[in-house]
């Protein structure tokens, strides 16, 4: 059923992609995979500072709702570019929709499991663990299977209320987002009740900007300029974090997001930290073949992918 849907959607993309809408000058609607926050600071900066305009691309940033995956907007052609985590992108490619990574921003994995105070996530066999309904957390599912933890996954829309209310034994969290939300909710977090995937052999890159391969190939130049201007936005944000935070707060206020400057500052710091490669200590903006292979192997082994998805399938054709 799932595969059939994906095939139908692929056909729709093909039809739409070859139509007059695919002209070079058309606006790229870009949908980050989450509501407005500092996780997308580089794109806000690129738009606010006019980097897109200078690059000659029309970009409009539209956020998804909390229960609507960004990918569903891409499928419906409601947007032409979206951010996805690498594992999500591989699932979609495996599902039959070829995607192209036009800009990789994350160089490290940010996912953590946070358990109730004094509980060790690795000792909570069969625990109820929260997971995002929009499809992050593939590595956590792999880890749960491989470490024989057999977590009972509870999908939630967003925020940490369920965990704080005691309805969950543990929850998945991003180190730049929910992790700080939990601290803000008065959770006492220590090394004992936090499991960081990046430190346990699951350091797989996350956020990157993706387009359908079909759209990309028809708008090569526009896509490259969009990617280049986005990268420029991130580099500017890294150099001017305070000004970048001001820009983020404008987007946050415009979208009526219930957050605050403290959380967004912590998020921006962490997202920028995650963009620095652990080995080269550089902000590389590239997909690492070894991480693609690691993610593919883990997901194939745990039946989350029907076949191996290769690095070459994801990157643009030269």
């Amino acid at each position: 059923m799932k595969k059939l849907t994906i095939c139908v959607l692929a056909a729709v993309f093909a039809v739409l992609g070859s139509g007059p809408l695919a002209a070079q000058e058309e606006t790229i609607v870009f949908t980050p995979q989450w509501t407005a926050q500092a996780q997308f600071a580089g794109y806000y900066v690129a738009e606010a500072k006019g980097f897109y305009r200078e690059a000659g691309v029309n970009v409009r940033i539209e956020h998804p709702s909390s229960t609507q995956p960004a990918m569903s907007r891409l499928r419906r052609n409601e947007c032409q570019a979206t951010t996805l985590q690498l594992c999500q992108a591989m699932e979609i490619i495996d599902g039959g929709i070829p995607l192209v990574n036009i800009l990789q921003t994350s160089m490290n994995n940010a996912m953590v499991i946070v358990s109730a105070r004094d509980e060790d996530p690795l000792k909570q066999k069969g625990a109820r663990v929260g997971i995002w309904s929009v499809g992050f957390g593939q590595l956590a599912i792999c880890m749960s299977i491989m470490d024989n933890l057999n977590y009972e996954w509870v999908r939630f829309a967003q925020n940490v209320n369920l965990f704080v209310a005691g309805a969950l034994d543990a929850t998945l969290a991003m180190s730049y987002n929910e992790y700080y939300q939990l601290i803000q909710a008065g959770m006492q977090i220590s090394d004992r009740n936090v499991y960081r995937f990046c430190d346990h052999g699951y350091n797989v890159q996350e956020d990157g900007v993706y387009m359908t391969r079909d759209y990309y190939e028809k708008h090569l130049d526009q896509a490259r300029r969009f990617a280049e201007a986005s990268r420029r936005g991130w580099e500017w944000a890294a150099e001017h974090p305070d000004e970048a935070l001001d820009i983020v707060m404008k987007y946050v206020d415009r979208e009526h997001i219930a957050t605050n400057r403290v959380l967004q500052r912590l998020m921006l710091e962490d997202v920028l930290r995650l963009q620095v490669d652990r080995e080269s200590k550089q902000r590389e903006f590239r997909l690492r073949p070894d991480m693609v292979r690691l993610a593919s192997d883990l997901m194939v082994e745990n039946q989350m992918l029907g076949r191996a998805v290769t690095y070459e399938e994801i990157i643009p054709n030269e």
Partner: protein, 655 residues
């Protein structure tokens, strides 16, 4: 400056006494006021606690009554729903009915698990909401709103009991207005107990927000409401509502008091905390709001609660401080006035001290201590005047006596031989003598004269000093002259003299006396010693003239004195002296003693200075050098008689 103040205080009795009194009064005030302030402050605090507690209890009751209504209505609707769990359309009726029967409810959803109704697809949620005056009922689930991932759906399912969700802002897109809402959710279960869906009734909390916001027991106090996660749902700063939690600030600036308050509120505890909120010392009163998981707190700045009390305290402290200063001022004035007679007395005392003994003293007409002092002072002045008069008389008498003494001294000295024969005057003997009395008049005597080719001489020392001794000395000398005028043997002269002066000696005085008669032709000397120091003979050597032990003259009239005889060779000097020489004291109370007399004589002899004048000069110099600055304690008399008969022929004699 400090030294000047201390010096001023030390000089002014009135300031010192006033300061002590005021200091003591201040200590009593401080003690009493501290106790009073402590008690009063505690009362104010208790009043604030009771006021805040009443407000919190009232609000909590209000909330609970409305929540109860929601919970009862939801329970009833759940019962209806589960009577027809398989009829999807009836859910719209129940959902709508809930709002029609309860116009103050915000919305109602009766939502089911995906694909629960085979003909309804993945989503089925009968959702009703007030829309102007009507109720709008729709199927609420969609790809854009996958309700089964929402908190209100998951919480009762996972917790397995009905519950209230964390408040959230419900945005009404057409009107772009937000409503703060909390939902009561209850799981729907079929007959086998399987979870099939959730019934959710929401209540707008705007009224609660308004009610809590309006709670303002003090001018600068405010109220807050937080959810389970500490999120602010009511706060005077609209920027913080739903966006920040009570812990947000502690993430950047650790604040254990704030974190502790947050955790207490999260746990649904009730209490009071005294802490700093936004840099202001405040009291925070908090209490949970029913079963919503929310907690309400009233933040009251300490300055508000204790504002009136602090103003009163400041006023009292100011009054007390001014009162004490006034007291100090008045005390200084009063004591200065009361002590002013003392100052006058002091001035008068200075006048009297300057010599004006008859200065008139003021009459204060007082019967207190100062009056007594004044009277005593007047008595003292009279005594002083009398004493000074007596002193004047005494001084005049003393001056008269001194004058008499000076005359007596000159008379006494006049009695002593003034002419001393030397080698150039006579060829048989040369004599020299000196008498230095310890007082104006002394008791020592010496005398000599020539008769019938013989030298009659004597030296004596009367017991005691001063005028009595000098008179006794004059009598002795007169008797010596009288008796020796017709008697040539010293023992008989002594016997006669002893008898004479003993008979007239009512004052029990005595005299040590050495009488010698030197035959100038032969050099034979007869002598009699009545208890006097034996003379030295300084000739070929230095030796002491042997003397029999006899008692002093004037003691026993019948005493028989012995006669002694000795040859005096040419060139030999008979050195006679009184005990004023041997008993001369220096500042260390050491005596000059006989040994030193001998040593000086030996040295003089070695220097060939044994002539009377030279020997006495050497002896005088030695004794002065020994005594130094010490007072002369006794009369000092020395007499030297050198026999020089035939010395011109160069014949040397030995003693």
């Amino acid at each position: 400056m400090k030294d000047r103040i201390i010096d001023y205080i030390r000089r002014k009795l009135s300031v010192r006494v006033s300061l002590w009194v005021v200091l003591f009064a201040a200590l009593i005030f401080i003690g009493a006021l501290s106790l009073l302030f402590f008690q009063a402050r505690e009362s104010v605090r208790q009043e604030a606690v009771s006021r805040a507690t009443q407000i919190l209890d009232k609000t909590s009751l209000q909330v609970e009554s409305i929540l109860n209504r929601v919970e009862v209505a939801t329970d009833m609707t759940e019962w209806l729903v589960m009577r027809h769990p398989d009829v999807a359309d009836s859910m719209f009726v129940y959902s709508r009915g809930m709002l029609q029967n309860n116009p103050d409810f915000y919305n109602c959803s009766i939502a089911f698990e995906p694909y629960y109704f085979e003909d309804q697809g993945r989503y089925f949620s009968a959702y009703s909401k007030h829309d102007a005056d009507t109720v709008r009922t729709i199927q609420g689930g969609s790809d854009n709103y996958q309700y089964f991932y929402m908190d209100w759906y998951l919480m009762p399912k996972l917790l397995d009991h009905p519950c209230w969700t964390e408040p959230y802002m419900d945005l009404d897109v057409p009107t772009n207005t937000s409503e703060m809402v909390s939902s009561y959710c209850k799981a729907l279960k079929d007959e086998e107990g399987r979870f099939v869906g959730v019934i959710n009734t929401s209540l707008s909390l705007n009224w609660l927000s308004n009610t809590i916001s309006a709670v303002k027991p003090y001018p600068h106090s405010y109220s807050i409401m937080t959810g389970r996660g500490g999120t602010y749902f009511v706060h005077p700063d609209p920027e913080k509502i739903t966006r920040q939690s009570i812990f947000t600030q502690t993430m950047e600036h650790p604040d254990t008091a704030m974190a502790s308050l947050g955790h207490s509120m999260q746990r649904g505890e009730e209490g009071i905390k005294h802490m700093r909120v936004d840099g202001i010392d405040s009291y925070v009163f908090y209490k949970p709001l029913g079963q919503t998981g929310c907690s309400m707190a009233i933040v009251c700045p300490e300055s508000d609660i204790f504002g009136g009390f602090d103003r009163l305290r400041r006023t009292i402290i100011a009054i007390v401080a001014i009162g004490l200063l006034l007291m100090l001022f008045l005390f200084i004035r009063i004591i200065t006035r009361e002590l002013s007679p003392l100052r006058r007395l002091a001035t008068e005392a200075e006048t009297i001290a300057s010599g004006q003994f008859n200065a008139e003293l003021p009459d204060f007409q007082r019967i207190d201590e100062i009056g007594q002092l004044s009277h005593s002072f007047a008595g003292m002045q009279q005594s002083l005047v009398k004493y000074i008069d007596e002193l004047k008389d005494t001084t005049a008498q003393k001056a008269s006596i001194e004058r008499d003494l000076r005359i007596a001294s000159s008379i006494q000295m006049g009695m002593l031989p003034k002419y001393f024969p030397t080698g150039s005057d006579r060829d048989d003997v040369q004599i020299y003598a000196s008498l230095t009395p310890a007082k104006d008049v002394g008791g020592d005597l010496f005398d000599f004269y020539f008769r019938d080719g013989m030298l009659f001489f004597c030296i004596g020392d009367v017991s005691g000093k001063g005028i009595p001794a000098s008179l006794f000395m004059a009598v002795t000398r007169s008797v010596f002259r009288t008796v020796s005028a017709h008697e040539s043997m010293p023992d008989r002269i002594m016997d006669s003299l002893n008898k004479t002066i003993a008979d007239m000696n009512d004052s029990v005085m005595f005299v040590t006396l050495f009488i010698g008669v030197l035959d100038l032709a032969t050099g034979r000397m007869h002598y009699c010693n009545a208890g006097h120091d034996a003379p030295l003979l300084v000739g070929a050597g230095v030796g002491t003239l042997p003397c029999d032990p006899n008692i002093p003259a004037g003691v026993m009239p019948d005493w028989k004195y012995s006669l002694q005889e000795a040859p005096i060779y040419t060139g030999t000097t008979i050195f006679l002296f009184t005990d004023g020489l041997t008993e001369a004291e220096n500042v260390s109370h050491e005596l000059f003693n006989m040994q030193r007399v001998n040593d000086v004589a030996v040295q003089a002899l070695a220097d060939r200075q044994q002539e009377p004048r030279q020997l006495i000069a050497r002896m005088t110099e030695a004794v002065h050098s020994f005594v130094g600055g010490a007072d002369q304690s006794d009369d000092l008399t020395m007499m030297g008689i050198q026999y020089i008969k035939g010395e011109a022929s160069g014949k040397e004699n030995a003693v």
